[in-house]
C-alpha cells in the first residue's frame, strides 16, 4: 500500500512539475509569437512604404521627364523606324 502511494506521489509531483514547465514554455513561446507578429506587421508597413516609393519613382511621367531632360532621349520619327516582320508562331512550328 505504501509503495503504491509513493509511486503515485512521484507521478503526481512529476506531473505538477511538467505542468509548470510546459506552462512556462507556453508563455515564453507566446511572447516570441507576439514579437514575430509585431515584426511581421512592421515588415508589412515597410513593404507598403517601399512599394509606395517604387510607384512614386517609377511613375511614367517621371521616367519620361528624366529620359527627355537628363538623358536627352527622344522618340524616333516614324520615317526612321524600320519594321521587321516577325514570322508567325504558327509558321515556325
Amino acid at each position: 500500500m505504501t509503495r503504491v502511494n509513493v509511486v503515485l506521489l512521484v507521478v503526481l509531483v512529476s506531473c505538477a512539475l511538467s505542468l509548470v514547465t510546459s506552462r512556462h514554455q507556453a508563455r515564453r513561446l507566446f511572447v516570441e509569437l507576439t514579437r514575430e507578429q509585431d515584426q511581421a506587421r512592421q515588415y508589412e508597413v515597410e513593404y507598403g512604404q517601399l512599394s509606395l516609393e517604387q510607384s512614386t519613382w517609377g511613375m511614367p511621367a517621371r521616367v519620361e521627364k528624366i529620359a527627355r531632360d537628363a538623358l536627352h532621349m527622344q522618340l524616333p520619327a516614324s520615317n526612321r523606324v524600320e519594321v521587321v516582320g516577325v514570322p508567325n508562331v504558327a509558321d515556325r512550328q
Binding site: R27, F30, V31, T34, V45, G48, T56, M59, E64, V81
Partner: protein, 579 residues
C-alpha cells in the same frame, strides 16, 4: 532524570483534563467558526463570483485593438495607385506642454520648422494643438525620444496616390477615417476597407502580453484591388489629352482606351484634373470623371450604328447609291445640311465623308423601332456599368415618341446623349465580329464573351467603312498611324444649351486598330475647342493617332501595314463635316 522525563511526557487522558461539557462547548465554537469560513468561501465562490472575476480580469487582462489597414489599389501590373502607410501625428495640450529652449530647438529641427512656428501653433488653440501631422514614424519616435513633457503621439494612416493627377479620376480618394469619397475608393469601399479587430490578452505587472485569452473580433484586413488600368497607357493618354486641350484652348476633354478583346478600360483620362494628394483648393468641377459622369450629343460618331442597322435590316448594301440632294434636305419645317457637299454617295461614302443627309435618308427608310432597338442593343441609354460611382446612362428616348425629324437627326447623333465610355463600348461591336463587350474598370483574366448584336459580315463591312474615313477623301486622314491600319469615325457636334444649338462644339473621334484584328478602341472627346478649328478630324484625330500608335507599340501589337502607309490629302482638299 530519565524517569522524571518519562513521567512528564506521559499522555494525560483527555477526560482527565477537560470535563465533557467544556469539550463540547469548545468543539461547538470551533465548528461555528469553521462554518462561517465555509459560508464565506461559498459566498465568494458562487454568489460574488462574477464581481471578483471581473476585478481580477480588470487587473490582468486587456482588450487590444488589432489595426487593419485599407487595401491597396493597383494597376493591372500590380503597381500601386493608392496605398495606405502608417504615419504619426504629434500633439499636446498647450497648458501641459513644457519644453526648454534647447528642447524646442531640437524638436523644431526634427520637424523641419522653426521654434517660433511651433510656439505659434501651440498658441492658436488653448485646448489642443497638433505640432506635426502625418509625419514618418521614425521622425516621430525621434521626437518622442526628446522626452519633452506634454508631447504625445498618435497613430494615423495616410493614403498616398503615387499616380497623382494622372489617375485621380479613376482612383478617387478617401476622406476622414479611411472612408472612400470618390471614384473606385468609394464604389469598392466594402472590398478595400478593413475592419479592425480586437483580442483579449493577459498582461503581467510590466504590461507585457503574456497570454492570448480570446479573439473578440478577428481583424479583417482590406483587400487589394486590381484595376484594369495600364499605367503606361494611362500616362500616355493623359499627356496627349492634356496637350491637346491646352493647344485647342478647350474647356475640357476625355479619352478612353478599351481593350477590344476583354472590354477592360486600359486608360481613362480627363482634363481638367486635380492632385489627390493635396486637394485643399480643388474646384468640384475638376473632380468630375467626365468620361463617365457627363453626357454629350455624340454627333457623327453615331452614323456607323445607323448604317449597321440598315445593313442588318437589308435596306441598303455598302455600294447602294444615296442621293444627298446637294447637301441639304427638308423634313417638315426643318432642313438638315452637310458641311461638305458631295452629290450622290455610296453607303460607304456616307460614312467616309460623314454625310448627314445620307445618314438621315437611310434612317428614314427604316421604322423608328428598328433604329431604337439597334441603338439600345449597342448599349445606348443604359449605363456602362463599369462599377464606377455616378456613371450616367445617357438619354435615348423610346421610339414611339420620335418625330421624323428626330429620327433623321438621331441617325447622325443629335437628340440623344451618351457618355464617352458608352460610346467606346458601343464600338466594340465593330472591333469584334459584332459582339458588344461589357466594359469594366477591374482587371479581368482571359477574353470575355460579349453579347452578339450584329452579324459578323456587317461588323466587317462597317469596319471597312471606318477605315475609309481615315484615308484621304475621308474626314479624318490625321488619324492615320504609320505601320497600322486604323478605322474610326469623327464627330463634330454643336452643343445644345437650354434647347438651342449654339456655336460651341464637341469634337470627337472614336477609332479602332489594327483593322486586320482590332486590339484597342480609343475614344477622344474635346469639349469646346476654341483655338479656331473645331472639326473632329483635325482636333481629335491627331490625338487618337498619337495615343493609338504609341499604345499599340507599347503593347507589342504586330504592325499590319507598311510604315509609309500614311497618305495625307493635299492642303485644302480635306473633307469637313459637322455633327
Amino acid at each position: 532524570m530519565n524517569a522524571a522525563f518519562a513521567r512528564r511526557i506521559r499522555p494525560v487522558p483527555v477526560a482527565e483534563m477537560l470535563s465533557r461539557p467544556r469539550a463540547l462547548a469548545l468543539f461547538g465554537a470551533l465548528a461555528v467558526l469553521f462554518l462561517v469560513l465555509l459560508g464565506r468561501s461559498l459566498y465568494l465562490q458562487w454568489l460574488d463570483n462574477d464581481f471578483l472575476q471581473g476585478q481580477g480580469a480588470a487587473r490582468s487582462s486587456r482588450a487590444l485593438e488589432i489595426p487593419a489597414h485599407r487595401g491597396r489599389i493597383v494597376d493591372r501590373f500590380g503597381d500601386a495607385l493608392a496605398i495606405s502607410t502608417p504615419v504619426k501625428s504629434l500633439w499636446a495640450f498647450p497648458d501641459q506642454f513644457e519644453a526648454s529652449k534647447s528642447e524646442m530647438a531640437s524638436l523644431a529641427k526634427l520637424l523641419d520648422t522653426t521654434p517660433q512656428r511651433l510656439s505659434a501653433r501651440l498658441g492658436e488653440n488653448a485646448d489642443f494643438a497638433f505640432l506635426a501631422r502625418g509625419i514618418a514614424p521614425e521622425t516621430a519616435s525621434r521626437a518622442m525620444a526628446l522626452h519633452i513633457k506634454g508631447l504625445n503621439e498618435q497613430n494615423e494612416y495616410r493614403r498616398y496616390y503615387p499616380g497623382g493627377e494622372v489617375t485621380a479620376h479613376i482612383v478617387g480618394f478617401t476622406g476622414d477615417r479611411d472612408q472612400g469619397q470618390e471614384g473606385m475608393e468609394l464604389s469598392q469601399q466594402a472590398w478595400l476597407g478593413g475592419a479592425p479587430g480586437s483580442r483579449r490578452v493577459i498582461i503581467n505587472r510590466r504590461g507585457d502580453v503574456v497570454e492570448d485569452v480570446a479573439a473578440i473580433r478577428a481583424p479583417r484586413a482590406g483587400r487589394d484591388l486590381a484595376l484594369s488600368i495600364d499605367s503606361r497607357l494611362q500616362y500616355l493618354a493623359f499627356r496627349e489629352l492634356k496637350a491637346a486641350v491646352a493647344q485647342q484652348k478647350a474647356k475640357a476633354g476625355s479619352l478612353v482606351i478599351v481593350d477590344a478583346h476583354t472590354g477592360e478600360i486600359l486608360a481613362l483620362a480627363n482634363v481638367p484634373t486635380y492632385n489627390p494628394n493635396s486637394r485643399n483648393k480643388v474646384a468640384r468641377d475638376a473632380m468630375r470623371n467626365r468620361a463617365l459622369t457627363d453626357t454629350f450629343e455624340p454627333g457623327s460618331t453615331m452614323k456607323p450604328f445607323t448604317i449597321a442597322t440598315a445593313l442588318e435590316a437589308g435596306v441598303v448594301h455598302p455600294d447602294t447609291i444615296i442621293h444627298t440632294e446637294a447637301g441639304s434636305m427638308t423634313i417638315g419645317p426643318n432642313t438638315i445640311h452637310d458641311a461638305h457637299r458631295a452629290g450622290p454617295l455610296t453607303v460607304e461614302q456616307v460614312i467616309q465623308k460623314s454625310s448627314n443627309v445620307g445618314a438621315a435618308k437611310i434612317a428614314l427608310s427604316m421604322p423608328a423601332t428598328t433604329l431604337w432597338q439597334a441603338f439600345s442593343a449597342a448599349g445606348f441609354g443604359t449605363p456602362p456599368s463599369t462599377g464606377f460611382p455616378g456613371e450616367v446612362s445617357g438619354r435615348l428616348r423610346p421610339a414611339r415618341s420620335w418625330k421624323p425629324i428626330e429620327q433623321a437627326t438621331m441617325s447622325y447623333g443629335h437628340g440623344l446623349t451618351v457618355n464617352l465610355v458608352q460610346l467606346a463600348r458601343a464600338y466594340t461591336i465593330f472591333a469584334t465580329d459584332g459582339e458588344l463587350k461589357p466594359v469594366t474598370l477591374l482587371k479581368t483574366d482571359g477574353t470575355v464573351a460579349g453579347r452578339p448584336v450584329i452579324k459578323p459580315e456587317t461588323a466587317r463591312e462597317v469596319r471597312h467603312m471606318l477605315e475609309l474615313a481615315t484615308k484621304p477623301g475621308g474626314t479624318a486622314p490625321q488619324a492615320q498611324i504609320p505601320g497600322y491600319r486604323v478605322g474610326g469615325k469623327t464627330g463634330t457636334a454643336r452643343k445644345n444649351e437650354n434647347g438651342e444649338y449654339v456655336h460651341k462644339y464637341v469634337a470627337s473621334f472614336v477609332g479602332l486598330a489594327p483593322v486586320s484584328n482590332p486590339r484597342l478602341i480609343v475614344a477622344v472627346m474635346i469639349d469646346e475647342p476654341s483655338a479656331g478649328d473645331y472639326y473632329g478630324g483635325s482636333i481629335a484625330g491627331p490625338v487618337f493617332s498619337r495615343v493609338m500608335g504609341s499604345a499599340l507599340r507599347l503593347l507589342g501589337v504586330p504592325t499590319d501595314a507598311p510604315v509609309d502607309n500614311v497618305v495625307l490629302p493635299p492642303p485644302g482638299d480635306d473633307v469637313k463635316e459637322e455633327t
